[in-house]
Symmetry: C2
Subunit: 131 residues, 2 copies
DNA sequence: CTAACACTTAGAGTTAACTCCAAGTCAATA
DNA sequence: TATTGACTTGGAGTTAACTCTAAGTGTTAG
C-alpha cells in the first residue's frame, strides 16, 4: 500500500504518518526500489493501534517507549505490560472525570431548557394580558 | 480570598488563574485598595466550573465564548445552551472512543498476562527436566 | 522601619503534537 | 519525451494552553 492508500484507510494525513514513522511509532516500513513507502497489512495494524491509543489521549512519548521495547523482543514483555497498565489506568481516571462533567453539563442544559420555557410562558402571558 | 488561597482550594496555579482571568474566563474579579485580587465565593464557583470543563477537555476558546455570552445577559441564554450541548456531545463522543480503547487495552493486558505465565511455566519445565 | 515575601503587570518562553515548506525524485500518461 | 502529480527528505512553522521572567509594588513580622 502507498502512503495515500493507508491514509484513506485509517484516516490520518501523510504528514502525520511520516511524522509517526520518524519518531519511531511505526517500525520497519519498507520502501520500493525508488524509495517510496510500501506499507504491509502488519504496518497498518500498528498504525491502527497507534491511532486508537492517540484517540484516547495516550501520549506519543508513551507509545514511542512501547514500540521501542517491542522491537527489543520478548524479554521486554513485562515492561510493556506495565506501560499498558499505566495508560489504561490513566484512561480510566480520565473517563470518570469526563462522566462527571457530562452529567454536570446535562443538568445545566436541562436548567437552561426549563428557564427558557418559563421565560417564553411569561412573555406570552404578558402579551395575552395586553389583548 | 487571595489568589494563593483560591489556588490551594481548587488546585490551580496562580499563573493559570491570572491567565484565565486575562483571557476572559473569570469575569469581574475585584481588587483590594492595593490592586491585589480578592476572590469571592461566586468567583470560586466560576473557577471551579472552568476547571471542571477543562478537565474534561473542553477548549478554552469555547469557554471564553460561553463566558462572554453570559456577561451579555439573559438574551444569550439559548446561544449559551447551544454551546453546552455542542460540548456535551463532544465529550460523549470522546467518552465512547475512550471506552473502546480501555477495553482494547484490557484485552491486551490480559494477553500479556497469560503469555508471561506460559513463558514462566515453560521455563520451569525446562529447569525441571535438567534436574 | 526594614527585610522578606507575596502580589502586580506585560510579555516572552515552553511543550506536545502535529503541519507545512522547499527542493528535489519518481511514475504514469499524452 | 515532456509534463503532471504524488512521493521523498530535513527542517521550519503553527497551535493550544499554559508557564515563566523581569521589574516593580504592597503587606506583614520582627
Amino acid at each position: 500500500m502507498t502512503i495515500a492508500e493507508v491514509c484513506k484507510k485509517v484516516g490520518l494525513t501523510p504528514d502525520t504518518l511520516r511524522y509517526y514513522e520518524r519518531i519511531g511509532l511505526i517500525p520497519n516500513v519498507s520502501r520500493t526500489a525508488g524509495g517510496i513507502r510500501s506499507y504491509t497489512e502488519y504496518d497498518c495494524g500498528w498504525i491502527e493501534f497507534i491511532k486508537c491509543m492517540r484517540g484516547a489521549g495516550v501520549q506519543v512519548e508513551a507509545l514511542i517507549e512501547y514500540v521501542k521495547l517491542f522491537q527489543q523482543g520478548d524479554s521486554t514483555a513485562s515492561e510493556r505490560k506495565q506501560i499498558l497498565i499505566r495508560e489504561r489506568d490513566r484512561i480510566a481516571e480520565q473517563l470518570l472525570e469526563m462522566q462527571n462533567t457530562l452529567e454536570r453539563l446535562n443538568f445545566k442544559i436541562e436548567k437552561y431548557e426549563t428557564d427558557l420555557r418559563n421565560a417564553e410562558k411569561e412573555l406570552q402571558s404578558i402579551t395575552n394580558s395586553k389583548e
